[in-house]
């Protein structure tokens, strides 16, 4: 779905990264602070240009897409977001429907916004001011905005779509964190490709189909969670000794000591 070849970017420190991000699967980008996760996500989303290398989206160079056509097919959730003026949560989520201006009816747009808010368990916040809700609530509302941006009614669901998320669970409580991870996995079942930068390796192990480990701007390990997250490579990337504890009934647990 998104395919990056030999991309390098001096600002953000990416060098020679090649990556295939499929639709209908969840890809987690992990790595220590400053590894280049956010930069990679930006480049994959077509928000930043790489100094060299190429990025294609659905087989077509990402720069050849018109901004609106691309916006209907890929959405991006930044790490944190300040909204300039006091705005109602529902109106903020409706901003996600901007690319559909003149294409879908107001009713469809509102239905998409409502569905997205319900999916992120933020529907009850719809009439609140965005500036007055908590950090975790804001993160869920922004997630609803980007889901609304690529939402389709059932009869148009076939089109390939991507959701790129920069640490979407960073300020969430454990309950909401798990709910969001489950939601993202469910979205992939509906055909949406999900790429996310994650700090929680256990979430990556449990929910991602594929894991990409970035270290100093390069991919040092990649594959299924168990293959990509071996103790040795994690230890060298994070500079702390990683240990993988296997339990009989659940996914392996990664601890650092």
């Amino acid at each position: 779905m998104i395919s990056a070849r030999n991309i390098a970017r001096r600002i953000g420190g990416l060098s020679d990264v090649s990556l295939e991000v499929p639709a209908g699967a969840c890809t987690a980008i992990i790595g220590p602070n400053g590894a280049g996760k956010s930069t990679l996500l930006d480049v994959l989303a077509g928000r930043s240009q790489a100094d060299s290398g190429s990025v294609t989206f659905g087989g077509k160079p990402i720069g050849d897409w018109t901004p609106v056509a691309l916006a209907c097919r890929r959405a991006f959730l930044p790490q944190s977001l300040e909204v300039a003026f006091p705005i109602r949560v529902m109106d903020l989520v409706m901003l996600g429907r901007s690319p559909y201006h003149g294409k879908s009816s107001g009713r469809e747009d509102r239905a998409a916004a409502e569905t997205a808010l319900r999916l992120t368990d933020a529907w009850h916040l719809r009439d609140r001011a965005y500036q007055r809700i908590s950090g975790g609530e804001r993160q869920r509302v922004q997630l609803a905005r980007v889901i609304a941006q690529i939402w389709r009614s059932k009869n148009q669901a076939g089109e390939p779509r991507m959701l790129l998320l920069d640490e979407p669970t960073a300020s969430l409580d454990p309950g909401h964190r798990l709910a969001v991870m489950r939601l993202l996995r469910d979205l992939t079942i509906g055909g949406i490709g999900v790429v996310l930068a994650l700090h929680d390796l256990n979430d990556a192990a449990r929910f991602a189909d594929r894991v990409v480990l970035l270290h100093q701007g390069r991919i040092i390990s990649e594959g299924g969670p168990e293959d990509a997250m071996q103790a040795e490579v994690l230890t060298s990337a994070y500079g702390a000794e990683a240990q993988i504890i296997r339990t009989a009934d659940a996914a392996p647990v990664i601890v650092f000591r």
Binding site: R47, A71, F85, P86, R88, M90, D91, S98
Partner: protein
């Protein structure tokens, strides 16, 4: 939950707007009639009606109504609308509720050009007498545009306009412009000094059908242009990059907005001098009342800006009649405390 009970974005933005916008329209009509009626010569509504419909009315009164008051009130409406819309657009662009058109240098550049014209204009003998009335506004307009272009060029980074740099460049260039005006007041004689001062404080005293025929159409085009960019301004609430990610052509929109605001405010300033505070107060009040969605915000701000200038100009004519106070004194004296009260009131509210 049924479809009808779903809180619907557009409708619920519209619901305060559905009350406020008609009120503002009524307010504009009221303020307009008031500003036509009040002045050194009081005029009744009946006389206004008669003058407009060609009914029986004293010839001198008819002239006062048709040649002085009505063009002046139309001018106030246009200037108020364009200043408020300019303020709204700049606030959306800079993502800052305190931004106003002054930041992009249009007022400063216009003021410097006007002050230059006041001091040196007499030696510009090549200007035919018939065009003298428009020469100073034209110089002011040019001055405003030149400074805007300079500031925008300074803020270019890799082919895009860097808004933060633009803000800082604006402050620096405005300082230079103010120094230039200071120098001119130093060079000028007493009469010129008075003229510069008066102009810097703004006045609608020079209104007439001629100036209105320049300001009115420009104001209308600028308001419509900004309305056309309302959706981009909405997207800009999330920041430039997010607006781009939502598919908006942010770079083009920024340029169009800057040109529109520079042209609109430049024209207004050229004929009426520098009028402060309306560009900040009007959008701020409307945003508090009906929220930040720019389509209704721009319309509401335009209407409120018109009302504020109409009322302020009427006050200017009444307070020291038959003389006139510069309108900038009134907008600052009344606008600033009101604005402070709003800010403090809101601060208490949000800390509660």
């Amino acid at each position: 939950m049924t479809e009808s009970s779903i809180a619907v974005s557009e409708e619920s933005v519209a619901s305060p707007a559905a009350v406020i916008l008609p009120l503002l329209v009524v307010g504009v009509i009221g303020a307009f009639l008031l500003s036509v009626a009040l002045g050194p010569i009081p005029i009744t509504l009946r006389e206004i009606g008669a003058a407009l419909t060609g009914g029986p009315v004293d010839a001198m009164l008819r002239d006062v109504i048709l040649e002085l008051r009505i063009p002046r009130s139309l001018m106030a409406l246009a200037v108020g609308a364009v200043l408020a819309v300019g303020g709204t657009a700049m606030q959306g662009l800079f993502r800052n509720p305190l931004a106003d058109p002054t930041l992009i240098g249009v007022s400063g550049g216009a003021a410097l050009a006007a002050a230059s014209f006041i001091v040196f204009g007499a030696s510009f003998t090549f200007i035919p007498d018939g065009l003298r009335l428009y020469a100073m506004p034209f110089a002011a307009f040019l001055g405003g545009m030149v400074v805007v272009v300079v500031i925008q060029r300074l803020a270019q980074r890799d082919g895009r306009t860097d808004i933060a740099t633009m803000l800082l460049a604006g402050i620096a260039v405005n300082a230079v412009v103010m120094a230039g005006i200071g120098l001119l007041t130093f060079i000028g004689n007493d009469a010129q000094l008075r003229t510069i001062n008066f102009w810097m404080l703004g006045s609608l005293g020079g209104s007439g059908w001629g100036p209105f025929s320049a300001v009115g159409p420009v104001a209308l085009v600028v308001v419509l242009a900004c309305l056309g960019l309302a959706r981009v301004l909405d997207g800009m609430m999330l920041g430039e990059r997010e607006a781009q990610t939502l598919g908006f052509n942010v770079e083009t929109a920024k340029r169009l907005l800057i040109v529109a605001v520079a042209a609109g405010v430049g024209t207004a300033v050229a004929f009426c001098g520098v009028i402060v505070f309306v560009g900040i107060v009007a959008p701020h009040m409307i945003r508090l009342a009906i929220g930040p969605a720019h389509r209704v915000l721009l319309i509401g701000a335009a209407l409120l800006g018109g009302i504020l200038i109409l009322l302020a100009d009427t006050l200017c004519r009444l307070i020291v009649a038959p003389a006139e106070l510069p309108i900038g004194i009134v907008t600052s004296l009344l606008g600033a405390p009101f604005f402070l009260a709003l800010l403090l009131g809101r601060g208490r509210d949000s800390s509660a």
